[in-house]
């Protein structure tokens, strides 16, 4: 910013005047006329040059932060893993590694190591951040069946969460699911209260409408992009598990 730039210029001037003062003091004793030591002058120029290089390096560092190779690799890995399949049953978790072992999702993140390699209790698997109360996820719903609707924005707001000490492999959550529907030439908000759970083994957030909102469809989200910010979600009919709509959501922030 301009302030730090001004400060830099000031420093440079100070440096130069100090050098000049030094040289002047030196020259009074000597030849008595204004003469700057060429070596000092060269050093000053070099320092100024170095500072310019440092600044450009800082800019490059800021740019480098924007591309995150680790996140990129994680995402690629998550996608390849999904295509490869886990070779495990519906209710099972793949321990990964060379052993390729399947364990029940009821035993993932319950503070007992069930995989031989302990993968079921690792911090990366047991990360609770997808199900934190206050999380707001948002994306565009695209309906394929069940309802006739134009694409619209859907927001999932997690309003509460609890994890029981005796059975920690699920986080029980409450949420509001809000949709901005375009009706004629204005938008209407349709929302319902939901409850459900987060399943560590499948990185899956499942939300069912509560009794008073029985006519709404359930939401099932999978955090399959290798982070806790993005999820692929489906609206489903809870009894038949038929898929009605799909939406990809991104964490917008916290309430």
């Amino acid at each position: 910013d301009s302030l730090s730039a001004a400060r830099k210029i000031m420093w440079r001037l100070l440096l130069l005047s100090a050098l000049t003062g030094l040289v002047l003091a030196d020259s009074k004793e000597g030849h008595g006329h204004l003469d700057i030591d060429p070596r000092l002058r060269a050093n000053a120029a070099r320092i100024i040059n170095l500072e310019r290089k440092l600044n450009s390096l800082k800019k490059k560092l800021d740019d480098a932060e924007k591309i995150d190779p680790e996140g990129f690799i994680k995402e690629l890995d998550a996608r390849v893993t999904e295509v490869e399949g886990t070779h495990c049953g519906d209710k099972q978790f793949q321990c990964g590694g060379n052993e390729q072992e399947c364990i029940s999702d009821l035993l993932v993140c319950d503070h007992h190591k069930d995989c031989h390699n302990g993968h079921d209790e690792e911090p990366s698997v047991c990360d609770t951040s997808p199900a934190k109360a206050g999380n707001i996820f948002s994306g565009t719903s695209h309906w394929k069946q069940c309802l006739i609707r134009h694409d619209h924005v859907t927001k999932i707001v997690l309003t509460g969460s609890i994890r029981f000490k005796d059975f920690p492999s699920r986080i029980w959550v409450r949420a509001n699911v809000e949709s901005d529907l375009v009706v004629g030439n204005h938008t209407e908000e349709s929302s319902f209260k939901a409850k459900g759970y987060y399943d560590f083994g499948h990185r899956r957030l499942v939300l069912f409408p509560t009794k008073e909102f029985d006519d709404h469809y359930s939401v099932v989200c999978e955090f399959n992009h290798g982070d806790a910010e993005r999820a692929d979600c489906h609206r489903i009919q809870a009894d038949t598990l038929d898929e009605c709509a799909e939406l990809h959501v991104i964490l917008q922030g916290h309430h």
């Binding site: 049953g89 029940s104 059975f167 492999s169």
Partner: protein
């Protein structure tokens, strides 16, 4: 007269509310069949239930030293955990045959007599089931019905 009728209706509704009624029994039977599953899934279901019980009442492990309750992964304990769920399975399947159910409950009561099992251990079993069942069943389960019918079975085994 009208008020009396309304009152009576409320009393009847209340009396039925925390009972394990005919429809609730049928519901529990079918939901249990899905949750109880088979093979490895059944072992894991039993494992989760027993871990949750011991997490609530660690002292309960003391009752199971003979079957290696200190390690729920021990084959002896796995066998025991499955045996207990087997007993629960029999009672749940008999929920719609009252005579056979009471005979089975009498049998189970006799098996548990003399082991001095405190009532809160049965409560821990119930809490555990009410946590693991929805994880196993997803949406289609009825918490109230499970509460009512589990109480019926547990009270039968406790003998009061």
């Amino acid at each position: 007269m009208k008020i009396l009728l309304v009152l009576l209706a409320c009393v009847v509704a209340f009396a039925f509310a925390d009972e394990c009624g005919t429809l609730e029994r049928l519901k529990i039977k079918s939901q249990w069949r899905r949750a109880y599953s088979h093979g490895h899934d059944r072992e894991d279901f039993a494992q989760a239930v027993w871990r949750a019980i011991f997490a609530q009442v660690p002292s309960a492990r003391g009752l199971f030293t003979r079957v290696h309750g200190e390690d729920t992964k021990n084959p002896a304990f796995i066998a025991h955990a499955l045996r207990v769920l087997g007993g629960l399975d029999i009672t749940i399947n008999l929920l719609d045959q009252p005579d056979a159910l009471s005979a089975e409950l009498t049998h189970l009561e006799r098996q548990h007599k003399g082991r001095h099992i405190p009532d809160n251990y049965f409560e821990a079993f119930k809490t555990s089931l009410l946590h693991v069942l929805p994880a196993q069943l997803g949406r289609c389960w009825d918490r109230e019905a499970w509460g009512h019918c589990f109480d019926l079975i547990a009270h039968g085994i406790e003998g009061h």
